[in-house]
């Protein structure tokens, strides 16, 4: 039995006063959440510029791109990138986006800020670990960026860093010397940060829920962050060993991934007996759960936000939680579907194909629950709700192509084509980012105490929504036509007729990217000039809306929240409003 007063006296930490403790090395989960958001924002714009450079080159391979030769005189002489430099940029685009954007923004940024508030806690369970996990992530980011500035540029091995090319060193090609080592070190550091973060999320959810906040009453966003933390804990715990083995192969002369008799640059590599498939197995055992680390928090955010604007309860919230858990569980059984063409036995391929198809069931149920929740609703159309609806759209578009790719016989044809590029960008990248946009428009008033501009938000939505379809929908057709990915130019006879499609995609990508500056402007302008937000501008029920905007240092100003309801009480009659706060003690009875 623990003394309550002692627990109170042992407040997590006192409110800091100095600038460094308050804004830089802060222990406050809200500041750390904003730091993660800022890092993700910086990373996403770098990643986007990289995609612009690649797209311009794919549409008009001979065009010199201004200033590119300043970044790398060898990689882009006179501003025209070499095929190798194209691969370098592609590797960095994928790595930055997957790790520093899709893992950081929906999970680490929003999760850090809102998980403790939504469960009625004052902070995360281990604030020091929390601060450490951000700064370790930041260090990983700096190490990754350093790869741009080493002599032969960033690695060319893709975000998946397939061995043996990633394991042998400079003989394998440009960027595979120091650049690849920096990549492996950066990812290993990132793993440590993610493990620390996941540990904090799990302990916080299990131990710091306030009185009355049973698991069943947790908002679905908190549920999603919790499930994601569990997935993240087990996935990054496998990627870290993989990176350690890769680094040892590169710097210590071991042969975990490098086979015997490998000749590169006319040199016999001094290694023997390593297994190149071992890297793929370890990487994808992390890699597939990583897809759910990126998408589940966004699903949770949409499940949380959509009922607020539909003004009716989410359909089957328990089923939704069950689906998230089932997806997390199944995500560990499907990694082999990334390796159908690796020479795997057809029987093994079937073994991976079946759970891959099964995993679509919880995802489909979740999608249907979201659609069912808005069916017949009097929607309040705001930027946040539009991005939620957009999320459903792109998630379906990207999910459907997954049915095709899950089957080995079809995947063997479509593997490494633009069909796959279209699939994962829709279902993982765009869908996840739509969740982040929805979360931003929804939670900005709480985070900064000011409303974002709705007009600009809606403009941003429509330009982005139409834009991503223009970019990624045609890629399905390119893939079906046999257009291989990771080529820097299309010179084969069968690819030349497809170049106009690439030009169209490039223009769409440039315009859609440009539309993101509307978002950036809105973000900065609203931060300083937006109308002041009330405590609960959206008339939502969960705990973050029971405190001031922005919340005080200890989240609830010394109040101890008691929770009486689930987060889903919309469309009820309650003293002239149509919702009941989680903290309202009124008894609700069905009539």
């Amino acid at each position: 039995m623990h003394d309550t007063s002692a627990a109170h006296a042992a407040h997590q930490h006192a409110a800091p006063t100095g600038f460094i403790r308050k804004h830089i090395f802060s222990l406050d989960h809200k500041v750390i959440g904003k730091q993660y958001y800022g890092l993700a924002l910086l990373a996403v714009f770098i990643g986007m510029v990289l995609s612009w450079l690649m797209r311009i080159h794919l549409g008009w391979p001979a065009w010199p791109i201004p200033l590119l030769d300043k970044l790398s005189a060898v990689g882009a002489p006179q501003g025209v990138m070499t095929p190798e430099y194209y691969l370098s940029l592609m590797t960095m685009h994928g790595t930055i986006m997957v790790f520093f954007v899709l893992t950081n923004a929906p999970f680490a940024a929003f999760g850090n800020y809102f998980l403790p508030i939504q469960i009625g806690a004052e902070d995360m369970a281990f604030p020091r670990f929390n601060m450490m996990s951000f700064w370790v992530t930041f260090t990983a980011f700096l190490v990754m960026m350093a790869a741009f500035f080493v002599s032969d540029g960033p690695p060319i091995s893709g975000w998946t860093a397939y061995a043996p090319l990633s394991a042998v060193g400079g003989d394998a090609g440009p960027g595979l010397a120091l650049g690849q080592t920096l990549w492996a070190i950066s990812i290993a550091i990132f793993c440590i940060a993610s493990l620390l973060g996941a540990l904090n999320f799990i302990a916080t959810t299990l131990d710091l829920r306030t009185k009355g906040m049973s698991l069943a009453r947790m908002p679905l966003s908190s549920w999603a962050w919790f499930v994601t933390a569990v997935i993240s804990l087990l996935a990054f715990a496998v990627l870290l060993p993989a990176c350690i083995l890769l680094i040892l192969d590169r710097v210590a002369g071991t042969s975990f991934f490098i086979p015997a008799g490998l000749i590169l640059s006319d040199k016999l590599q001094p290694h023997s007996g390593g297994s190149v498939l071992l890297w793929q197995h370890l990487f994808w055992f992390f890699g597939h759960p990583e897809v759910y680390i990126a998408i589940l928090p966004s699903i949770g955010i949409v499940c949380h936000i959509l009922p607020v604007f539909a003004r009716k309860p989410l359909l089957g919230p328990r089923a939704a939680v069950g689906c998230m858990i089932a997806t997390g569980f199944l995500s560990y059984m499907v990694w082999g579907h990334h390796m159908f063409v690796s020479g795997m036995s057809p029987f093994s391929a079937n073994l991976f194909s079946v759970p891959t198809l099964v995993i679509t069931i919880p995802m489909t149920i979740l999608t249907l629950l979201l659609i069912g929740s808005v069916y017949g609703a009097k929607m309040r159309f705001t930027a946040a709700s539009l991005f939620c609806l957009g999320f459903i759209s792109v998630f379906i578009s990207g999910g459907i192509s997954g049915f095709f790719l899950a089957q080995p016989s079809i995947d063997i044809y479509l593997h490494a084509t633009y069909f796959v590029v279209a699939h994962f960008h829709f279902v993982m990248a765009v869908a996840s980012l739509f969740g982040v946009f929805a979360g931003t428009y929804f939670w900005f008033p709480k985070m900064f105490g000011r409303m974002m501009n709705e007009g600009l938000g809606k403009l941003h939505f429509w330009l982005t929504f139409i834009g991503v379809y223009c970019i990624f929908m045609p890629m399905h057709y390119l893939g079906l036509a046999g257009n291989v990915r990771r080529y820097s130019a299309f010179v084969d006879d069968y690819l030349i007729p497809l170049i106009p499609v690439h030009k169209f995609i490039t223009i769409a990508a440039l315009l859609t990217g440009a539309a993101q500056f509307i978002f950036l402007f809105n973000l900065i302008w609203s931060r300083f000039k937006g109308p002041v937000a009330s405590e609960n501008p959206w008339e939502a029920t969960s705990l973050e809306w029971s405190t001031t905007s922005p919340p005080p240092f200890d989240n609830f100003g010394g109040r101890h929240m008691v929770v009486y309801n689930g987060p889903n009480e919309y469309g009820v009659e309650n003293n002239g409003t149509d919702f009941v706060m989680q903290t309202s003690p009124e008894k609700i009875a069905a009539s």
């Binding site: 009355g212 993989a242 929770v563 309650n574």
Partner: protein, 227 residues
């Protein structure tokens, strides 16, 4: 679903399970305070941490199986005998840790008897220092094992078998040294707070230390079978 809101009635049921149902009005164990109790938090955190460490070593183990079967270059070698001695030392450190915990567990009951709590505190701290010393002897013993392998010409990159041996034993030693850092943190707290185990992180540290013990026994068996 049309619902109406009623004022709270005297017959409010204590059902905590459903979405939108009336709440449980009594505090639930472990969730009574907003800040959570320190020992519970640290124990949960530690259980999560050892799960992650266990997962990492599972990944290394499967990598070893795959690597051993992927080629014919695997050389078997005799494990240095000092490893078995080291194992006994590490197991002994788990015992001394438990002896220490027993002392701290009875300190709250012994507070009324003048002097007795002091003796228990000194005793408990003595056993903890012994735990740290045994941990240090274990790591020194591991260094002896590495030197013995090196004397036979077996280095990290010599053969996949030696690679995995050095990898497993070194990573375990690094974790154990980290644990010793934790041990001194706990010791400092115990000395400062007069032996209140609850707020010192002793129970969380014990989870870690015993896990490191078990992990080493597992690794030794694995290496003994595979090497």
């Amino acid at each position: 679903m049309a619902t109406t809101t009623l004022p709270p009635g005297p017959d409010t049921t204590l059902d905590d399970q459903g979405f939108g149902k009336p709440p449980e009005l009594t505090p639930r164990p472990g969730h009574a305070t907003q800040s959570g109790s320190p020992s519970q938090k640290s124990e949960t955190g530690m259980l999560v941490a050892v799960s992650a460490i266990g997962m990492s070593f599972a990944a290394f183990t499967s990598a070893m199986f795959v690597r051993q079967d992927s080629s014919t270059d695997w050389q078997h070698f005799q494990l240095p005998y000092v490893l078995y001695f080291n194992t006994l030392i590490l197991m002994a450190s788990s015992v001394t840790l438990q002896l220490s915990r027993q002392r701290f567990a009875v300190i709250p009951d012994a507070r009324h008897a003048a002097g007795s709590a002091k003796v228990l505190l000194a005793n408990g701290i003595y056993w903890l220092y012994l735990t740290a010393a045994l941990g240090l002897i274990f790591v020194l013993g591991q260094i002896l094992a590495w030197r013995s392998l090196a004397a036979h010409g077996l280095y990290l990159a010599t053969n996949p078998s030696s690679s995995f041996f050095y990898l497993f034993s070194a990573l375990h030693a690094v974790h154990l040294l980290g644990g010793m850092g934790g041990l001194f943190y706990v010791l400092r707290k115990l000395i400062r707070n007069g032996g209140v185990a609850e707020t010192s992180g002793l129970s969380a540290f014990s989870i870690y230390w015993h896990f490191m013990d078990l992990l080493w026994v597992y690794l030794l068996l694995l290496l003994a079978i595979r090497m």
